[in-house]
Amino acid sequence: MAAGAGGTGAGGPTPAELRAIYLRRWEGRTTFMQGNEAAALGAIYAGCSFYAAYPITPASEMAEFLSKAMPLVGGCFLPMEDEIASISSVIGASWGGAKALTATSGPGFSLMQEAVGYACMTETPCVIADVQRSGPSTGQATKPAQGDVMQARWGTHGDHEALVLSPSSVQECLGLMVECFNLSERYRNPAILLMDGEVAHLRERVRLPMAKDVVLEGRPLGSPDDTPFGGRPVPSMVGFGRGAAVHVTGSTHKEDGMREASTQATHDRLVRRLVSKIASDRDRLERVEERFTDDAEVAVLSFGCAARPSLGAVLRAREGGQRVGYMRLVGIWPFPRRAVARLGERVRRIYVPEMNLGQVSREVERFVDCEVVPLTKIGGVPHTVGEIVRAIKGGDRP
């Protein structure tokens, strides 16, 4: 990729060299860091060279971190006029060859939804970090929540697939940001890092990997003569500046990229491929963390910030002699249905603590026959270990 406006001219260090120089100050260290900062640093590890965003609590620290880092790695930081402009410029930058990121929270994520569909339809790799806060609307702007689970899946109109990972520690903010870039590039689809205000503002220990140990994937570049929008499940990305006169449109298009919006068969073939390129890899994409499920009679299943008190509750209940298992969803979408179904076969009841009114628990119900008990909590205050323990002991809701 040619160096963008933040890079050096001919003869200067390449963006890869600048990134390596920059990461020397971080790699290999064990340090104390905030979730937003770790996610931002993860983007640098991933080779992100374009970040555009609009200020919003609780995601702004990512912009502050990257406004400082991007020039040092030869990338661009753009403070855009709104979230629609942010995601739009991210998509433009991706077609220009950059790995590109934006970060926001619920209100901004809502504004971005049309562009999420555009990125799906045009098969544009890009990453969106949604640091969930308490909604709907402006809600509790400074308080954490997990209410965007379904928006991350179905926020944009039309049929599509979603690639969504949800970190529950500062370490994971970094690691899963890298994975979001890898998934996005591999499948040519937007990927969403579904954070929350709790994990984003949490400060805890993080081990920063050596850059050489971080596995990075790039988009399938192919040759400029390749079919840009078809021919195989994930076509080559014939980006701008390669002499291919590529035509990119959010309208229904043929495999050569040209619009053909009135033909049923063209739309059917296109959208089914866009969905199946991810859905057919669903099993491979399942990501859960599972503990104490061998002897479990009941289980606690959670994700993101709610997984932290969930694990604490499981440990405390087990100390008290209860056979309680633990499952944490790392990948939310595609939903890890096989792992959840297996858990449902082993236990008689699954508790689902989440900071919303049951968005994940309803999904769990679809794949298990055992009892599912939602432990919902909203209002910006995370679950306590005691609340979840009492629910398990009492056999029902707190």
Partner: protein, 286 residues
């Protein structure tokens, strides 16, 4: 205006066809639409400048005039979401600062739903060449009132007459800080091509408003059902910008001020980004 000046006569394959995806022709524009004239001026300008199709990245919005570039332009083309062309183009320009990035879209797209991106693009002075084809109506959707429809005009959504005042969108862009702003009409093809050339050679944000006719969905509402009537109106009602300076607002009512409306040379956005990045790296290295 045949593009064949110099006594070569009519060519079978005029050189400007190399800018077009010939398989997409003829265009889908309505009879009498101004878009054909704008496209003709655009490719003739590129031809005159000796630019190759691949030197441009074309970015469009949604609407009839966005079709000028998508699908007809034969170069890398980003047909974006309604109103967001400038934001997409800003991302392209930031990572491909050496490319000439061209945006063509309509009044509903750039001045209506995308008005915010337009003024911020001008404020940043990002190096885009933006051509706003202003037909004063939402044409593609059937002739609904737009932000540039004159007051009082009946449209499909102002059956009792437009209750709103129109944007003077070129003045808005000039006030926002664009390096180059001009307004012409589809009648003024020669000065329009000169303005296009100027816009395509301006480092910073360049903006040309092209008043254009939509006989199908606008002209018939205002008593000008054919292109010829609209072009005559553009001819008769136009006032050169230099002359308009000395005229009262009342005198300019119903007139089109044409010419260069702003010309300055602030530093272009991506070159500022590049210098700032280099300075940051030098400071970091110390």
């Amino acid at each position: 205006m045949t593009g064949n000046e110099g006594g070569e006569g009519i060519r079978r394959a005029p050189s400007h066809l190399r800018y077009l995806r010939e398989g997409t022709l003829p265009t889908t524009f309505c009879p009498g639409c101004g878009c054909g004239t704008v496209l003709n001026c655009f490719v003739h300008t590129l031809d005159k400048m000796g630019m190759e199709p691949g030197e441009l990245v074309a970015v469009t919005g949604i609407g009839c005039s966005s079709w000028l570039l998508s699908p007809y332009y034969r170069g890398d083309t980003l047909h974006t979401m309604h109103g967001r062309a400038i934001a997409f183009a800003t991302g392209v320009k930031a990572v491909m600062p050496d490319k000439r990035v061209v945006v063509i879209a309509g009044d509903g797209d750039l001045a209506g739903i995308g008005g915010n991106h337009l003024i911020h693009g001008a404020r940043r002075n990002v190096g885009l060449s933006v051509f706003l084809v202003n037909n004063q109506i939402y044409g593609m959707t059937g002739g609904q009132v737009s932000p540039t429809t004159p007051a009082g005009v009946r449209t499909t959504t102002t059956p009792y007459g437009n209750a709103e005042y129109p944007f003077n969108i070129a003045e808005v862009v000039a006030a926002a800080g664009a390096d180059y702003v001009a307004r012409w009409t589809t009648y003024h093809v020669r000065p329009l091509m000169r303005a296009m050339e100027e816009a395509l050679t301006t480092d910073g944000f360049a903006f040309v408003e092209v008043l254009s006719q939509c006989p199908t969905n606008y002209g018939r509402n205002v008593g000008m059902p054919t292109a010829v009537e609209a072009l005559n109106a553009f001819k008769e009602r136009s006032v050169p910008a230099e002359k308009a300076c000395g005229m009262q607002a009342a005198e300019l009512e119903g007139r089109y001020v044409v010419g260069t409306l702003a010309k300055r040379s602030r530093k272009e956005y991506t070159s500022v980004l590049r210098e700032a990045s280099e300075a940051a790296r030098r400071a970091d290295a110390r």
